[in-house]
């Protein structure tokens, strides 16, 4: 099975590594003989904005539900805040805020009443905190309205408010931008960045790769319930393929040299630019070949997109799965 797990390196986590908030060990879930999550080892450190990626049906939501105790694991272990879970469920969940899939509320109650009820389940949450959360998510004017009159976007924002209500150390958000318009997505993104800046650790499951790329420092990709990669986002992107743009007036000569070296499949020329898809680690070598050949280079720009990285990883995993 294709697997490339980067071990957590202290230097890789500038936002305060060393303190594991989520740790799963060989976590497994089997539904009616179907393995949904298999041998999953995740590590989320304090201060991380951790992106959890995978195609539909990859096992992301099942994993999140196991971490929150909604689903019982078939095998493996979970540790939250260095405590065994679910054995020390109460202590762990009191430090966690979560929005799992849809933001569901008591539709016949107001936004304020919903937050009050949910707040009471997490201990004593003062009214001022409820008001503050409603203001943060921009629902203070609708606080007394029944939730059944809310749009999906408003419910989503209320869902984030309830997740942050108990001032958690760890916030787990499962597709928080789902169903939102572009403006709403941007608001959610800004909100996540803000809560991260306040010192909260964020575990974010998302389909939106650019969202993860913009706001996450670490990520994991799973497919068919198995972990494909895990690590620092920048390092992972550097470990994969990248589109390299070389700006030079001698584009044809540059292409000839690169073709001779058989370093890339396709080489495109546009104006004074040569674009090739290569492994990130090959960039210094390409630079050396071209300069040795006397080709003037004005710019050498690698463009690593999470989308390319994600698709290459997931597709490779699918190919490996078919072979097996």
């Amino acid at each position: 099975m294709f697997s490339r797990i980067l071990k957590p390196d202290k230097d890789s986590f500038p936002q305060g590594a060393g303190d594991l908030l989520i740790e799963t060990l060989r976590l497994q879930k089997i539904f009616k003989k179907r393995v949904v999550v298999s041998d999953l080892n995740l590590q989320v450190f304090r201060g991380d904005v951790f992106g959890f990626l995978g195609p539909n049906g990859a096992g992301k939501s099942t994993t999140i539900r196991m971490i929150l105790g909604l689903i019982h694991a078939s095998a493996g272990k979970i540790k939250l805040f260095d405590r065994p879970f679910p054995q020390q469920r109460k202590e762990s969940l009191s430090k966690i805020g979560a929005l799992v899939e849809r933001p569901d509320f008591y539709l016949y109650l107001s936004a304020q009443q919903n937050l009050k009820l949910l707040g009471k389940m997490s201990g004593r949450i003062p009214d001022s905190r409820i008001q503050e959360m409603l203001e943060i998510v921009g629902l203070e004017d609708r606080a007394r309205d029944r939730v059944k009159t809310f749009s999906h976007g408003m419910k989503q924002r209320l869902g984030i408010a309830q997740a942050l209500l108990n001032n958690p150390e760890l916030v787990i958000l499962d597709e928080p931008s789902s169903g939102l318009d572009p403006e709403g997505m941007k608001e959610v993104r800004n909100l996540i960045q803000n809560i991260s800046a306040q010192g909260m650790t964020v575990f974010l499951s998302s389909h939106l790769l650019h969202e993860v790329e913009q706001i996450c420092n670490r990520m994991a990709i799973i497919n068919r319930g198995e972990l494909l990669v895990q690590g620092n986002v920048n390092e992972l992107l550097k470990s994969g393929e990248t589109i390299l743009t070389i700006r030079t007036p001698q584009t044809r000569r540059a292409r000839e040299i690169l073709e001779k070296k058989k370093i890339a499949g396709s080489i495109e020329i546009q104006d004074e630019r040569v674009r090739i898809k290569i492994d990130y680690s090959k960039i210094p070598q390409i630079n050396a070949w071209l300069t040795d050949a006397g080709i003037p280079i004005f710019e050498l720009t690698p463009q690593s997109s999470l989308e390319d990285f994600y698709l290459s990883i997931v597709r490779q995993a699918d190919v490996d799965a078919r072979k097996n």
Binding site: R65, L68, G69, L70, I71, H72, R89, K90, L93, S94, I96, A98, V100, E101, R102, D104, F105, Y106, L107, Y108, L109, Q113, L117, L118, K120, M121, S122, G123, Q162
Partner: protein, 280 residues
């Protein structure tokens, strides 16, 4: 724990559908009494027991009074009231699963056991409140429409209670009815923890009650071995409150069986809920 019960109270009694049971009793019970008032007790003329009384006794005053009609209305405890009882316990877990709010509350610190215990307590509170409402309404409307008088009970003979004694018997009968209806609430609750749609537990529990009642009431010897194990054999325990002398031993046995049933059903519900994967 009590915080969770208070939360359940708010969730239950802020919802309109909770009042369907109260509204149904509040509408049909006075309607039924008014209809009886308008008929002037004519329907009683067809009762063989009533004919026997009229033929053999000199009746001073009115036996067709508020006490009498309140006692008659208690017969709805067999089938009609269970229909209303199951509305809340049948919905209290399944409704939250269907709405997705179960997911939200179970990511909060309180344990599943405490969550389910609070829902069990609330189901029993609702059951008790519905029956207390029925008791008070029947006695008040009965008194307003028919006045007070001796309570005549026609069962295995004729029993006559003074107003004071009748009120004590009513209180006792409704206390026993709360225990009996608690079992029906527990049946609906057990079904509720297993599904994510409230309609199933409500219909399912009513079907169970009706089928059990048929088996209990049908005088077929083939059912003799089954009857002792059916809760419906014991749910009519409230009728014993109007016997004279009160058969304490039978009542204790019946209540004991009903409490065991309740404990078993609620215990099984809690066990299933603890192990359940929340997929909704």
């Amino acid at each position: 724990m009590w915080t969770l019960v208070k939360i359940e109270w708010v969730k239950t009694f802020r919802r309109r559908r909770t009042y369907i049971g109260f509204a149904t009793i509040g509408f049909f019970l006075p309607l039924f009494f008014i209809a009886m008032k308008l008929s002037g007790g004519a329907f009683l003329q067809h009762s063989s027991a009533m004919k026997a009384i009229q033929e053999n006794f000199v009746i001073m005053g009115n036996i067709f009074n508020g006490m009498f009609v309140s006692r008659i209305i208690m017969n709805t405890l067999f089938v009609h009231i269970p229909l209303l009882i199951v509305l809340v316990p049948g919905d209290i877990v399944a409704g939250e699963a269907a709405a997705g709010t179960l997911r939200t509350i179970l990511t909060r610190p309180p344990s599943r056991l405490k969550v389910i215990a609070s829902k069990i307590i609330l189901s029993l509170i609702y059951t008790a409140l519905l029956l207390i409402f029925m008791a008070l309404l029947s006695l008040i409307v009965g008194y307003l429409l028919f006045g007070l008088g001796y309570l005549v009970v026609l069962k295995d003979g004729i029993l006559i209670f003074t107003v004071r004694e009748a009120l004590v018997r009513f209180a006792f009968a409704y206390a026993l009815a709360i225990v009996a209806m608690g079992v029906i609430a527990a049946v609906a609750f057990l079904l509720s923890v297993q599904v994510s749609n409230a309609i199933g537990p409500i219909i399912g529990s009513i079907m169970i009650v009706v089928i059990f009642l048929i088996i209990t009431a049908t005088p077929l010897s083939a059912f003799d071995h089954i009857r002792p194990f059916l809760f419906t054999t014991y749910t009519n325990v409230w009728e014993l409150a109007f016997a004279d002398p009160i058969p304490w031993e039978t009542i204790v046995t019946h209540v004991g069986v009903l409490v065991l049933y309740m404990a078993g059903l609620f215990g099984l519900s809690a066990y299933i809920f603890q192990r359940k994967d929340i997929l909704s």
